[in-house]
């Protein structure tokens, strides 16, 4: 046997003979045994739970109205079946007092009372629920109910759907299945507000990633460093070392064999835990993720990085405690650099990216991921804020929508919470009037000239007004020709632009008198009756601007705009649970649906399946837009590529430009010209036929960006990055080559962090090679 193999095997036996190893394995076994009883408990049920109540206050108000004989027929039908004591309580509610409504009933109490209604037989009546018969899912249930052949389970299902019709905005859509986290067969707390796919989406990269990162990547690696730190100092202690050095072996190989022998210890531990987690996740949660096994070499690599430092310190100082301390100092240094980089990266590289670009009256308008609407300031080469920006963090922006007739721009930015929710101080649209409103007001961006670049970055170009309030639970705002449509939970609301004109008239006054601002709602629901959409709804106008296509809760609905109303032309259901974030586009021949982590689905104009397409290199779609006057769809991916999808053949080709890998958004001006957002915060007008750039807007970097670009990033690149291997783990676990900033992906257009696996791998490999090289040189020269 080769001598070095003998040392390696000896180190393996040494590791196996280590009591700490067995203590750790016992500890891990206890942890795994503790985790093993966790699992899902699924029950087919249409009963309500507290998480199904979406808007408690509104529900109480509507119920209170209904028991007083107000509100819709359906709500009153439900109220009639409520418990007498509950009705009595509802009658005491003061409708104007929101706080009282909130205090009066808890969510679980409301769910309990409504569940009593779910069990009654005679809730349905055609008068109360006139649209129920038209619903595909309800028709057979209603027929069974009328024939008296309906089972209790079917009654539950029918009544739950009827409750949804009565309170569409107050209750979450019924799933038909309730999901609990269970422990040894016992349910823990309330049913989960998410389904299995969403759990998987959250569980794999985030929860599992965090367990592995904290449990193994930090805790286990630290314990391993403490345990293995004596190996090198003890080996290179005179008593045993002189004997080893008297043997015909190389010192360098002796050191390396001992080093990698020490790694065996960690390999045994990590393999044990990850295989255990793999089987628990698979057997108990039905998540068979091979990425867990791929984490074994990644975690080993993390350990090797730290161990190389610990071993070198042990070699120099011959003391295990010093090795651990040096290792901790090294970790602290890497952590500081990494934390600084990770904190500055979103502010200087990600949130500065453009998500919208268009040209309005010679002004290049952009929207960045921070929700800021910017105008190009040629004097200082910066993006000057068009209006005061309310949002500071990641944002979702609706618009800008330009109305050439009135020369106004409408926009609204919401702060995007870590769980994907949208928040704003007010729900009112921002309105920018481009034409002068009164004497002394500047309307054109060119008229405004800040004195310095710093001022230009801060001072808004235009004053903005608060326009009409957007309906609740907004998913998108789209333009169908002249019609501006807000896609909301409660329906499809058309913005009455005449209301804006009326407001302007009231501001200007009549014969010197100020007129009162009309208080009527500027948004009118033009969707068919009882049309509601679910979470993560995607909408877009058809290419011909004669209607729109909406994907919601698994349903794909093609609407035509006729006489100011939307009518369903075609409708279909797609596979899947319907809760995925999505993007849709439709022209006269094809409809394209992109859903998170699924292939692109192409349907024909009748919404019949045509084909499915996978993007090369597992790329993910960020934006979709038809290339004008063609049947081709342009795609901007999260990897920054601009692609062309030929719907007929399903072929995906790259549109060549100098900005491959850097594109963030697009706006096609014509079939040959496209406005592109370019990383980190530039914009260009590209002639795709000649691949030439016609216009280019590259802003001067701000101070923060300069610091990041010229100081933090170079240090970070040169610095070893053990913590950055998390990205490799996240990739192994999720298979995604980009990662959303929020925990739940419910907006495919939101900027995602590119999962860069190779930079940390290479920099860490170089670091390990250098440290081991120094160690080998030291050991070869050292006189023991």
């Amino acid at each position: 046997m080769k001598p070095y193999l003998a040392i390696l095997i000896d180190s393996f036996w040494e590791a196996l003979g280590n009591r700490v190893l067995w203590a750790l394995l016992l500890g891990w076994s206890l942890v795994l045994c503790g985790l093993a009883p966790f699992g899902y408990i699924t029950e087919r049920s249409y009963k309500l739970s507290s998480v199904d109540i979406d808007n408690r206050s509104q529900l109480v108000e509507n119920l209170a109205k209904a028991v007083k004989g107000q509100g819709g027929d359906s709500a009153r039908a439900v109220a009639a079946r409520l418990d007498a004591s509950f009705i009595a309580k509802l009658k005491q509610i003061v409708l104007d007092d929101d706080a009282q409504r909130q205090r009066q009933f808890s969510q679980s109490e409301l769910a309990e009372e409504l569940n009593k209604v779910i069990a009654v037989r005679e809730l349905y009546s055609e008068e109360a629920f006139p649209t129920a018969q038209r619903r595909e899912r309800l028709a057979p249930l209603i027929a069974a109910a009328e024939n008296a052949s309906i089972s209790p389970a079917e009654i539950e299902e029918l009544n739950r759907e009827l409750l949804q019709l009565a309170f569409p905005l107050e209750l979450n859509r019924p799933q038909g299945e309730q999901l609990w986290v269970g422990y040894a067969g016992f349910k823990i707390a309330d049913p989960l507000p998410v389904n299995r796919r969403q759990i998987k989406q959250f569980f794999e990269p985030i929860l599992l990633g965090t367990i592995i990162k904290l449990g193994l990547g930090i805790l286990a690696v630290f314990v391993a460093i403490v345990v293995t730190s004596p190996i090198i100092p003890e080996t290179f202690r005179s008593g045993s070392l002189h004997l080893l050095l008297s043997k015909p072996i190389s010192r360098i190989w002796l050191y390396l064999a001992k080093f990698f022998g020490g790694c065996v210890f960690v390999l045994v531990n990590i393999t044990f835990v990850l295989i255990g987690l793999y089987f628990i996740a698979g057997l108990r949660f039905e998540i068979w993720n091979q990425g867990l096994l791929a984490c074994i070499p990644i975690l080993m690599f993390v350990f090797i990085i730290f161990y190389s430092v610990s071993a070198l310190a042990g070699l120099i100082w011959g003391n295990a405690i010093v090795s651990v301390v040096v290792c901790m100092v090294f970790w602290l240094f890497c952590f500081s650099i990494g934390a600084m980089h990770d904190a500055l990266l979103p502010q200087s590289e990600l949130l500065t990216q453009m998500s919208r670009v268009r040209k309005v009256n010679e002004n290049v308008l952009v929207v960045n991921e921070r929700g800021g609407l910017g105008v190009w300031n040629a004097q200082f080469s910066v993006w000057q804020p068009a209006i005061q920006n309310e949002v500071r963090g990641p944002a979702r922006t609706f618009g800008p929508i330009y109305d050439p007739k009135r020369e106004l721009i409408l926009t609204k930015a919401f702060f995007q919470t870590p769980f994907g929710g949208l928040q704003a101080r007010s729900r009112k649209l921002a309105v920018i009037h481009l034409k002068p409103q009164a004497e002394g007001e500047h309307a054109d961006a060119s008229d405004v000239s800040p004195k310095t670049a710093a001022k230009a970055r801060e001072e808004p170009v235009w004053p903005s007004e608060l326009g009409p309030e957007l309906p609740q639970q907004l998913f998108d705002i789209i333009e169908i020709g002249d019609t501006i449509l807000a896609v909301c939970r409660g329906g499809l609301f058309k913005l009455d632009l005449d209301q804006l004109d009326a407001r302007e008239r009231s501001k200007n006054g009549l014969f010197g008198f100020k007129l009162p601002w009309p208080q009527t709602n500027a948004f009118e629901n033009i969707a068919p009756r009882d049309y509601f959409v679910g979470a993560n709804t995607a909408a877009s106008p058809t290419q011909a601007n004669d209607g729109c296509i909406i994907y919601s809760s698994g349903s794909l609905d093609h609407f035509a705009l006729r006489s100011g109303k939307l009518e369903i032309v075609n409708s279909t259901r797609l596979d899947g649970d319907g809760t995925e974030a999505a993007l849709v586009q439709m022209n006269e021949r094809y409809c394209v649906v992109v859903r998170d982590n699924q292939p692109i689905t192409i349907l024909d104009s009748q919404l019949r399946p045509h084909r499915e397409v996978e993007l090369p290199d597992n790329q993910k779609v960020r934006q979709l837009q038809w290339i004008p006057a063609t049947q081709d769809l342009a795609i901007v991916t999260h990897s920054g590529d601009l692609l062309k999808l030929t719907c007929q053949t399903g072929a995906v080709t790259e549109i060549s430009s100098a900005f491959a890998g850097k594109c963030t958004c697009m706006h096609w001006q014509s079939s040959g010209k496209v406005w592109l957002g370019v990383k980190p915060s530039s914009v260009c007008l590209l002639d795709v036929n000649s691949a030439t750039v016609e216009e280019l807007y590259v802003p001067q970097p701000a101070t923060l960006e300069m610091i990041f670009r010229w100081a933090v990033r170079p240090i970070y690149l040169l610095n070893p990055k053990p913590a950055a291997l998390d990205t490799a783990m996240a990739y192994a676990l999720s298979g995604n080559n980009s990662q959303a900033l929020s925990l739940m992906t419910n907006d495919l257009e939101a900027v995602q962090m590119e999962v860069d696996i190779w930079t940390p791998v290479i920099s860490n490999l170089v670091f390990v090679a250098v440290v081991l090289g120094v160690s080998c040189f030291y050991v070869s020269r050292k006189e023991f």
């Binding site: 046997m1 001598p3 003998a6 040392i7 000896d10 036996w13 040494e14 196996l16 003979g17 280590n18 003890e234 202690r237 005179s238 008593g239 045993s240 002189h242 004997l243 080893l244 050095l245 008297s246 043997k247 015909p248 072996i249 190389s250 006189e783 023991f784």
Partner: protein, 318 residues
């Protein structure tokens, strides 16, 4: 190569540098010349800090020499081919705690590139030879120091080296164990092996070594058989006289002035005088000189010097 000495050292020097900023030089070896012939048992003697360990480390390639030349079995000291042919028992030997005697021999045998079958065949025999039979499956961490020393000797002999370098081989052993080690060394000599022995126990060296070298202050004070060294440093005989001063009080000073000697005061104006002499006639002359100084001789003893006396003389000779 076969004719070459087992160890051949020429003008070997070693200077250690100490200190981070203000480096200080310490000369551990200052031009040592030494030849150990094949088949002999050679003892290296010297006080602490004499440079013995440094010399052994240079021979094994653990430290580099600052000058001069050292050859082991004709190959440069520290080279892989030289290390292949030597067996080494270090001072303060320790084995990794997870080993048994068998697994330790297996590891060190593999490191010496001994075939697996040979390791298996020889392990039992060697352990019996060093007195560890029946304890071979016990973990070495439970071994006494003496047992570890025996195991160290077994591993040094496992690959049948031509030269054994034993650094304090009887350290930690009881008298029976020491006797067994001496027997083993004698057996090795009978097999034609060369043994280079470094020991503090001078009687032991005297008993087993064919030749001895005395190293002190980084220089070699003498090399030769114990008899040769005795003659060189001490004289062949020692005269020890117990005497009483009866006349002139300056007689002792006069005696010291005519002869290099050691004078020890005893109770009741009595003294013990010791001095080396090369022959009986020299002793007779000395007795005459004592008598002429009017000193009474109470007891007269003629002995041969021990190696310890030789060693002390050699070490103090500068």
């Amino acid at each position: 190569m076969l004719d070459s000495p087992a160890i051949d050292v020429r003008q070997l020097r070693k200077a250690y540098r100490d200190g981070w900023i203000f480096k200080k030089n310490f000369n551990a070896l200052q031009g040592v010349d030494l030849t150990v012939h094949r088949g002999e048992v050679f003892g290296l003697l010297g006080p602490n800090g004499a440079g013995k360990t440094t010399l052994i480390k240079i021979l094994l390639g653990i430290v580099r020499s600052s000058g001069g030349e050292a050859l082991l079995l004709g190959a440069p000291a520290g080279s892989r081919s030289a290390r292949q042919r030597i067996g080494y028992l270090p001072e303060n030997l320790s084995f990794p705690a997870h080993h048994t005697a068998i697994s330790a021999l297996q590891l060190y045998g593999r490191l010496s590139r001994v075939p697996e079958a040979t390791i298996r065949a020889k392990s039992g025999q060697l352990l019996e030879q060093v007195g560890l039979a029946g304890r071979e499956r016990e973990l070495v961490r439970k071994y006494s120091k003496g047992m570890r020393q025996r195991l160290g000797l077994a591993q040094a002999m496992l690959h049948e080296p031509e030269l054994l370098i034993l650094d304090e081989p009887t350290d930690g052993l009881d008298p029976v164990g020491r006797s067994e080690i001496r027997r083993l060394i004698t057996e090795l000599r009978a097999q034609g092996k060369t043994v280079f022995l470094n020991s503090h126990i001078l009687q032991e060296v005297e008993l087993v070594c064919d030749r001895v070298a005395i190293l002190a202050g980084g220089t070699l004070r003498g090399v030769g058989t114990p008899h040769e060294l005795t003659t060189k440093f001490h004289g062949a005989l020692t005269l020890r006289v117990r005497m009483e001063l009866v006349g002139d009080a300056n007689a002792l000073d006069q005696l010291r002035s005519v002869r290099e000697c050691e004078m020890l005061a005893l109770p009741d104006s009595k003294w013990q005088f010791s001095s080396a002499a090369d022959s009986q006639s020299e002793i007779n002359d000395l007795v005459d000189q004592i008598r002429q100084l009017n000193i009474s001789i109470l007891k007269l003893e003629r002995t041969r010097p021990t190696l310890e006396e030789v060693f002390l003389s050699a070490v103090n000779s500068d």
